[in-house]
Symmetry: C2
Subunit: 203 residues, 2 copies
């Protein structure tokens, strides 16, 4: 188990995270954009009005944010929106992140615009645990993406899924095998090897 | 100046990088996907056939890869393609990255598929230099994205661009100001402040 507070702590400690956007050609773009502030479960960042990433978000607000520390990743998927009260947020963020004055000294800070991600899914993924561990949180109007695989009632309890799994994750419960979703790599080996086609994609 | 070899060295030393893709809804997705191998300027990575990222790349091969170390980022924008000779590449990569056996022991490795990025733009961005420094490389059929701003012949040499720039980057050359592109943040302050509208977006 991990708490949302622990995830927020990593996001702010690492600060540097990768923000992924979609450009006008529908292709992925990514940059380091610092996570500047977190308040009431909302994620705040800044970017300059002249940058490609600024117009990309204005044209297509869906973003994906990824923070990594010690093989633990936190992924935020949601919609970013520009905040109205530019001066308030920029001043607050510069006060709490004084290193920003090295890049944007004095009034240069106001070329930046503050953005907020309010409705999002946050997924914690820990590759250091054995078996791996993942957990999702939702905030605001976001939905949690259903991923991975599940075992249907067609299961004949042969155990091939458990044997073929890189981490032997499937467990026998009552009369059939089940996949503990929090430990699944989503690799697909059980799905490809089930002799009774009893494993389906969760999507 | 930075060399492509220095960039490749960081990519392989850090290994962990963020791969951004576009999903079937046209939205950005991102995950940590290790950079497993670099050979003849080609970037190699793996992913499991059951994962969302696998089908995303198969459906939309344009990807963006980002590696960060000590405030120096390397960004790769290009097209990923699945390699035919799966066993050859998987075995080679597992030999050179033995930690992979902890996650995919034995024959489990063959649920993975090898991908290669051959035609791409690589951008190095160093926030530790003053002023910041960026440099782009192209490989294969990729084109270098034109970004940022330039000063046209409408320049009246007033110096407002240099004074307003957070890093005072624009320089006077012969009879007008110019923007040394390798040091530009692309923030847009000069563009917004030029009194003669002599600064245009390079796109």
């Amino acid at each position: 188990m991990v708490t949302k507070e622990e995830c927020f702590k990593q996001l702010r400690e690492v600060i540097d995270a990768v923000l992924s956007t979609v450009d006008d050609n529908g292709n992925p773009q990514s940059r380091i954009i610092d996570i500047m502030h977190i308040e009431d479960d909302r994620i705040y960042f800044l970017t300059g009005r002249g940058k490609h990433v600024y117009s990309e978000i204005m044209n297509h607000p869906k973003v994906s944010y990824l923070s990594l520390k010690d093989n633990k990743s936190i992924r935020i998927s949601g919609e970013a929106h520009k905040l109205d009260d530019q001066k308030y947020w920029i001043d607050l963020i510069f006060e709490n992140n004084p290193f920003m004055n090295n890049v944007y000294p004095g009034n240069a800070r106001y070329i930046l615009e503050p953005f907020c991600i309010e409705d999002y899914e946050m997924e914690f993924f820990d590759l250091t645990q054995k078996p791996i561990f993942r957990q999702s949180f939702k905030f605001g109007d976001a939905e949690i993406t259903v991923k991975g695989f599940e075992i249907t009632d067609d299961c004949i309890a042969c155990g091939t899924c458990q044997a073929s799994c890189p981490q032997q994750i499937p467990v026998f419960v009552e009369d059939k095998f089940e996949i503990p979703q929090e430990h699944c790599l989503h690799c697909g080996l059980c799905y490809e090897n089930c002799p009774n086609d009893a494993i389906v994609k969760r999507e």
